[in-house]
């Protein structure tokens, strides 16, 4: 009797501890962002921008498109509504899944600039829960008019590691003055509040530029990507003249990499100041979740 009783107790204990051992606590859902500089100009109604996240659960309620009630971008008290076209989920070689949100600004304008130095993607779910994710710097330009005085023949970039991350280090542009007038280029800039063209170091070049040359080597002097020294430019261009320029970048914010951006060239034609805008172009294409971006990642635990 005692042996049977003992065996019964041991069996119960074995089942209990076995069950406790086998049932692991379910890990909380995590969403990871890699803050990025978004610099876009409205092109067509079919154009979308993408916000990419990592998640440890591809089937969670919080990554399903049908769970999302509302999406908006916020910066301090400012807010813009967004339209969600779709969410795509991709496997990765890690235990994380890539969540790709295709988004649009939910209104249209002929002349409007959204300039959020620190943008948060605010997601409201159908269960009324709100999640706010830091996605970086968001710049979006609606501008229906553009000048035809200026144009470019070739447009490329130079690349090197800045602060440990491979990024665009400079722009190489063959700028053409198509107007019949002499003009003065006053500024070349990027549609960004933190990343700019360093006007002081723009130089005219006459030979092809190696895309992977170190900027300091090219300029034959020390060059810092972080010293903010932006000054007005005074670049004279005769009527119908073409100039090949190399324009180094400066990174003045927390994010020291950029892949795709709008260029804005300001010039004086007679007494009138005008701007020429070059649509956002993807100078480079890589994953913002590569290991080199690890210090840039922001991880949110969703409970």
């Amino acid at each position: 009797m005692n042996i049977k009783y003992l065996l019964l107790v041991l069996s119960v204990l074995l089942i209990f501890f076995g069950t406790v051992f086998l049932i692991k606590d379910k890990e909380p859902l995590t969403l990871t962002t890699s803050p990025y500089i978004y610099s876009y100009k409205y092109t067509t109604e079919t154009e979308y921008f993408h916000v990419k996240l990592l998640s440890n659960d591809r089937d969670s309620y919080y990554v399903l498109q049908e769970s999302i009630d509302k999406l908006q971008l916020t910066y301090n008290e400012e807010t813009i509504p967004l339209l969600l076209k779709e969410i795509k989920v991709y496997e990765t070689e890690t235990d994380q899944f890539l969540i790709d949100l295709s988004l649009q600004v939910a209104f249209h304008s002929n002349d409007y600039y959204i300039d959020y130095p620190q943008a948060y993607l605010e997601i409201t779910y159908t269960n009324n829960k709100e999640v706010s994710l830091y996605i970086g710097e968001f710049n979006f330009l609606f501008k229906s008019e553009n000048t035809s005085d200026l144009d470019f023949m070739n447009l490329s970039a130079t690349y090197q590691e800045v602060d440990g991350i491979n990024t665009v280090s400079g722009i190489v542009i063959d700028l053409v003055n198509k107007s019949g007038n002499n003009i003065i280029i006053k500024d070349i800039d990027i549609l960004s509040s933190s990343t700019h063209i360093n006007n002081d170091y723009i130089i005219e070049v006459f030979d092809p530029v190696d895309s992977f040359i170190d900027m300091a080597t090219f300029l034959d002097q020390d060059y810092s990507f972080f010293d903010y020294e932006k000054e007005p430019l005074d670049l004279f261009m005769q009527a119908y003249e073409q100039k090949k320029l190399i324009a180094p970048l400066i990174y003045n914010g927390d994010i020291s990499f950029i892949h795709r951006f709008v260029l804005i060239i300001t010039y004086i034609d007679g007494t009138e100041e005008k701007t020429y805008i070059i649509d956002d172009f993807p100078y480079m294409n890589t994953s913002i979740f590569n290991p080199e971006y690890i210090d840039n990642l922001v991880i949110y635990e969703i409970n």
Binding site: T44, E47, H50, Y90, S156, R260, F281, S287, N290
Partner: protein, 209 residues
């Protein structure tokens, strides 16, 4: 003993089958240049290279791979075909909305020589017989499924002008040789290569026609 001999023959027979090789697209790229002098692609291995590298593989084994990695994650730059071309044959400038789609994530491609095989399973490919797991290789591949992203760009194109979007890229190349043994019998041997595209770079070129 007889059974073992028959099984051995069957395995040996399998190893004599011809291998259909599906090399990665990178073998057709216009130009691949290594950052460091001396590095080579598998397709550039000389017969003497194979002889030297096979001698470094070590002794036969009962079962499985012996591998030797010659170049490990060597940085390389490449030039690909032109991505987009438009020619304005008209007499007035056009304002063109260019649309193109690219894979936005790392892609891994493979090449082999000799009797080493590549297998394709859906969108994924890799070496046969689990060779990749036996290679001392830790390329920082964080994502293997490619994500497509569509770009829309508005550009002016003058009359009699051709606009091209060019692609360059950066990759990490790992290659070497391997032999596969079954019952101490060499069943496969050849070279292998893994080409990991880490970044693509784009530029716009306009030329008069």
């Amino acid at each position: 003993m007889k059974k073992l001999f028959i099984i051995s023959l069957i395995f040996f027979g399998f190893s004599l089958h011809n291998v259909i090789v599906h090399a990665g697209d990178y073998t057709t790229y216009q130009e691949i240049k290594f950052k460091h002098n001396g590095a080579k692609l598998l397709s550039q291995y000389a017969t003497s290279d194979y002889k030297d590298l096979y001698s470094r593989l070590g002794k036969r084994r009962f079962w499985g791979w012996r591998t030797f990695v010659w170049f490990k994650e060597e940085p390389a730059y490449y030039t690909r075909d032109t991505l987009y071309v438009i020619i304005n044959k008209g007499t007035t400038p056009i304002n063109e909305e260019i649309t193109f789609t690219r894979e936005s994530i790392i892609t891994k491609q493979y090449d082999v020589s000799g009797s080493i095989g590549i297998e394709v399973d859906g969108k994924k490919s890799g070496f046969k017989l689990g060779l990749e797991g036996k290679i001392d290789f830790s390329a920082s591949v964080s994502e293997k499924i490619t994500v497509e992203e569509k770009y829309e760009i508005e550009i002016d194109v003058d009359p009699n002008t051709k606009l091209e979007i060019k692609i360059m890229g950066e990759a990490k190349v790992t290659n070497g040789v391997a032999k596969f043994y079954r019952f101490w019998v060499q069943a496969k041997k050849g070279g292998f290569e893994i080409f990991v595209v880490t970044t693509e770079y784009y530029s716009i070129v306009k030329v008069p026609v």
